[in-house]
């Protein structure tokens, strides 16, 4: 059995919180750069160029890309031959978030209670999704999630008879209603199948797939392309000022589902689609 100390996890998580909020991934930077040429609207083009400049300033001046440094969401793949020592996984990750958000001068955006709304002051607790996998390695993916785009997300249990077209229409209609609010150009994460909680999880997981990687199943890869085209035909454009580039990518994740249901979830991410990953 391989031992992993909780302190190692806290340290690496703290660093990842800071890095992900300052350095936008190459995949997203590249997608934004490529969209400048495709954008027909002069205002849209100007917005995309501001986003490129923003990425450079964040990197060079050590300042977060966006003031909403997000809810700290983690996807942990724990190799079941590894043992955690010196604390629980919850404590280890939350301690990393606490340190990372303080040392990185990141905004603390979490309130203790949904209705009484007092800030916890250190951006904890994180949302931790855990999967046990084979082997003795631990992979931790981090995706700080902004409130503006999360607020424009939804879940619905469709009827099986709604089928492929029903799903496409539901997603496109939803993105249209969200309009300028989630800070387009957006990334659209779609969960299909499973149960109520599983489908929301799938939609979130779809957002951490690197841009430029399509669904490995050709059927869903084609569906991703079709939805992307339809979303970009809405004309919402960068920041909703009108234009061609409403979304940078559409990602679909699926799971088997009950004979009676067709669950679909749409989780929208803004253009600052931040994610980091460490392997221990």
């Amino acid at each position: 059995m391989r031992e992993i100390n909780a302190e190692v996890i806290s340290e690496k998580v703290a660093m990842m919180c800071q890095d992900a909020n300052r350095y936008l991934g190459e995949d997203v930077s590249k997608a934004i750069a490529e969209s400048v040429d495709k954008e027909e609207s002069p205002t849209g083009k100007a917005v995309l160029k501001q986003l490129e400049e923003n990425i450079q300033i964040a990197r060079n001046s050590d300042i977060p890309l966006c003031q909403d440094t997000g809810f700290a969401v983690f996807f942990v793949e724990w190799g079941q031959e590894a043992i955690l020592t010196g604390g629980t996984l919850d404590e280890a990750i939350n301690e990393g978030v606490r340190r990372g958000y303080a040392e990185g001068y990141l905004r603390k955006s979490i309130v203790e209670d949904p209705l009484q709304r007092v800030n916890t002051g250190d951006n904890t607790p994180a949302v931790i999704n855990l999967e046990m996998v084979a082997g003795d390695q631990v992979k931790i993916a981090f995706a700080p999630k902004g409130g503006g785009s999360e607020n424009m997300s939804t879940v619905q249990i469709l009827k099986p008879s709604d089928g492929y077209e029903g799903v496409v229409d539901f997603v496109v209609d939803h993105v249209n209603k969200a309009g300028p609010n989630p800070c387009p150009p957006i990334v659209v994460g779609i969960g299909l199948g499973g149960t109520l909680e599983k489908v929301a999880y799938l939609a979130k997981k779809a957002l951490i797939r690197p841009l430029g990687h399509e669904n490995p199943d050709n059927y869903y890869a084609e569906m991703e392309k079709e939805i992307l085209q339809k979303v970009n035909d809405l004309g919402i454009g960068p920041q909703g000022f009108g234009g061609r580039i409403t979304a940078l990518a559409v990602h679909i994740e699926t799971y088997p589902c009950h004979i009676a249901s067709l669950p679909v979830a749409v989780n929208i991410n803004c253009h600052a689609s931040r994610h980091g990953e460490i392997v221990i």
């Binding site: 300033i57 003031q67 004309g235």
Partner: protein, 184 residues
């Protein structure tokens, strides 16, 4: 890209010269307020009490910045979603506010109030908080320090880039823009 220049506080003439889609550089003093600060201001208004700032001609920026690092004026400072302030905006305009900066669409009551009181709604680029922070030269607490990033702050801005979304004539860039580029 052409930019109009506006100095704060705004005058009626300044507001009426703007049209949805105009790109504008704002210069001068603006104030920050988000949900919690709006709630407090409206409570004072309803109780007939004095406000911690004179809203006449002022521009309110919906922002909750990240804390500044030592040596920085302000942290990342992009706009938050304006719709959460819709419930308060007509009263803010009635109290003298002339402009507000955020991102995302406003409800009909806000659009009507912008016409009635000759106000303007600007959008700054959401998610460009690092870039926007470079256009802010002063950042001071004015009221409600206990609200942290949600406190009311005074900002001095230089060539702060915004786009007119809703003008005082009732035009809406979000509708105009999407209709222009829509492919059915």
């Amino acid at each position: 890209m052409d930019f109009k220049h506006l100095q704060t506080p705004l005058s009626d003439d300044g507001v009426l010269s703007l049209e949805a889609g105009d790109n504008v550089y704002i210069n001068g003093i603006i104030y920050t307020a988000r949900d919690a600060a709006h709630k407090k201001l409206i409570e004072l208004m309803e109780n007939g009490e004095e406000l911690p700032l004179d809203l006449t001609g002022q521009v309110i920026y919906y922002v909750g910045p990240t804390p500044p690092k030592p040596g920085q004026v302000i942290g990342s400072a992009g706009p938050t979603t304006s719709g959460r302030m819709d419930a308060y905006t007509p009263q803010m305009l009635a109290a003298g506010m002339k402009g507000c900066i955020g991102k995302g669409s406003r409800n009909q009551a806000v659009k009507d109030a912008l016409k009635k009181y000759q106000g303007v709604y600007f959008a700054a680029v959401g998610g460009a908080g690092a870039l926007l922070s470079q256009r802010i030269t002063k950042f001071e607490v004015v009221a409600y320090p206990e609200l942290g990033p949600e406190a009311i702050h005074l900002l001095e801005v230089k060539n702060f880039p915004v786009t007119v979304v809703n003008d005082a004539q009732g035009r809406d860039l979000y509708e105009i823009g999407a209709n222009k580029y829509k492919r059915v």
